[in-house]
């Protein structure tokens, strides 16, 4: 059992150990979808939502697996849960709000292969969080992911206007900017450690 306070879990997941910049989870969408500020915000929202739902379902399934005594099925079950959660969210959003569905577009199915989601499910199991801690952890991770994505998109929109040599264009400069961002986030170390 883990008795870390809720606030410290949130700060830890969103800032100190930011999923993207410290754990390197969800790098693919971080590099792929961070070219424009508006899409980055939407992607962040969608990921946070799926994280929360997947984290809660993973908590339930983990209890079930422990009860049945088959912990080695954990990974397979988690990935199935995430895939079906994404599918479910997609159908739900399509039914409830077609406008939002169009706005999210291709991003929803892509979330299935976002390692940050599976990361949340695995970390919460390893650390033995209870239900409330799980949901706060998922929210924190989602907020951290969104923050990193939005910061990156903002910087990349400015980069468009900068004059850069051809060789650093594209992935190379993006990664270096990400490195600097990551260093900045190290400044949060020690925050909320109590």
């Amino acid at each position: 059992m883990n008795d870390a306070g809720l606030w410290s879990i949130f700060i830890n997941a969103s800032l100190v150990n930011n999923f993207v910049l410290a754990y390197f989870l969800g790098i693919c969408p971080f590099l792929g979808v961070s070219a424009k500020l508006s899409t980055a915000t939407r992607m962040g929202g969608a990921v946070t939502f799926v994280m929360l739902v997947a984290s809660l379902s993973a908590f339930g399934v983990n209890l079930l697996l422990e009860w049945a005594g088959v912990p080695y099925l954990r990974l397979i079950s988690y990935i199935v849960i995430i895939a079906s959660t994404v599918q479910f969210v997609e159908m739900f959003v399509k039914k409830m709000s077609p406008a939002l569905f169009r706005a999210l577009g291709i991003f929803l199915p892509l979330i299935t292969t976002n390692c940050a989601i599976l990361g949340v499910a695995l970390f919460q199991t390893n650390r033995g969080y209870d239900l409330l801690q799980c949901s706060v952890f998922a929210l924190g991770a989602g907020a951290g992911f969104t923050l990193a994505l939005v910061l990156m998109a903002g910087i990349r929109e400015k980069l468009e206007l900068a004059s850069l040599s051809d060789v650093v264009q594209g992935a190379a400069i993006t990664l270096m900017v990400a490195g600097i961002l990551s260093l900045t986030f190290m400044g949060f170390a020690g925050l909320g450690a109590a």
């Binding site: 910049l21 410290a22 754990y23 390197f24 989870l25 969800g26 790098i27 693919c28 590099l31 080695y72 990974l75 397979i76 990935i79 199935v80 895939a83 292969t113 976002n114 390692c115 599976l118 990361g119 695995l122 970390f123 390893n126 051809d166 060789v167 650093v168 264009q169 594209g170 992935a171 190379a172 400069i173 993006t174 990664l175 270096m176 990400a178 490195g179 600097i180 990551s182 260093l183 190290m186």
Partner: protein, 214 residues
């Protein structure tokens, strides 16, 4: 269907993954483990080998089953196959070295969502015979391992002054701690990509001047 074009395995199936279509440096696939576990050469190497193992086996199995798997559920089936092999690797590493398992942590389980493996299953294994898929898996896996080893080597050398845990640089060398921290991972990959881009641009420029001269 463009399936089954030329089913004889060729050396190129294996070789293309090493450099020309290197999954990390050319396609930028599977970035999470590339950045996360390469703070030392040994971590990078073992992560690469684990991925190589999963990639080769899943590629082969997907290819064997490619005519049975219904098209509509193929992605879900691929993921299940991959997840099975990853579970195998997870327990295997735990049995071989508990210490290594601890230092790689959740990233072994996260091989499941490595887009490289799913990408090869979808783009190559589901369209070609088992022998070619096996070679493709080996080549791509080896290319991935090389990239990880390269990253891990550079970061450990500069960040710790050692290679595979053996001190290489003289004691006067002040380690660049930043290299083994998360930020260093981004920097190293960024610089490597920059060098590769520069080399490519240079080769292209030279080819053009040669053409112009002749």
């Amino acid at each position: 269907m463009n399936a089954e074009q030329g089913n004889t395995p060729t050396a190129d199936d294996f070789l293309k993954g090493l450099w020309r279509e290197n999954p990390v440096f050319v396609y930028l696939l599977g970035m999470c483990p590339v950045l996360a576990v390469t703070n030392s050469a040994i971590n990078g190497l073992s992560m690469g080998l684990a991925t190589l193992f999963v990639l080769t086996l899943s590629n082969t199995l997907v290819s064997v089953l490619r005519n049975i798997i219904p098209r509509e559920v193929r992605i879900a089936t691929f993921i299940l196959i991959i997840a099975t092999f990853v579970t195998v690797v997870d327990y295997l590493i735990q049995a071989i070295s508990l210490e290594l398992h601890k230092s790689l942590g959740a990233f072994i389980s996260l091989i499941v969502v490595n887009c490289l493996i799913l990408g090869r299953a979808e783009a190559f294994a589901s369209r070609n015979g088992p022998a070619r898929a096996l070679l493709d898996g080996l080549g791509m896996g080896l290319g991935f391992t090389l990239a990880l080893l390269c990253m891990g080597g550079v970061r450990e050398l500069l960040g710790n002054g050692s290679l595979f845990g053996v001190a290489v640089l003289p004691a006067q060398f002040q380690p660049w701690i930043v290299m083994i921290l998360p930020g260093g991972g981004f920097f190293t990959l960024g610089v490597l990509l920059l060098l590769i881009n520069a080399a490519k641009a240079r080769r292209q420029a030279r080819a053009q001047t040669l053409e112009g001269a002749s």
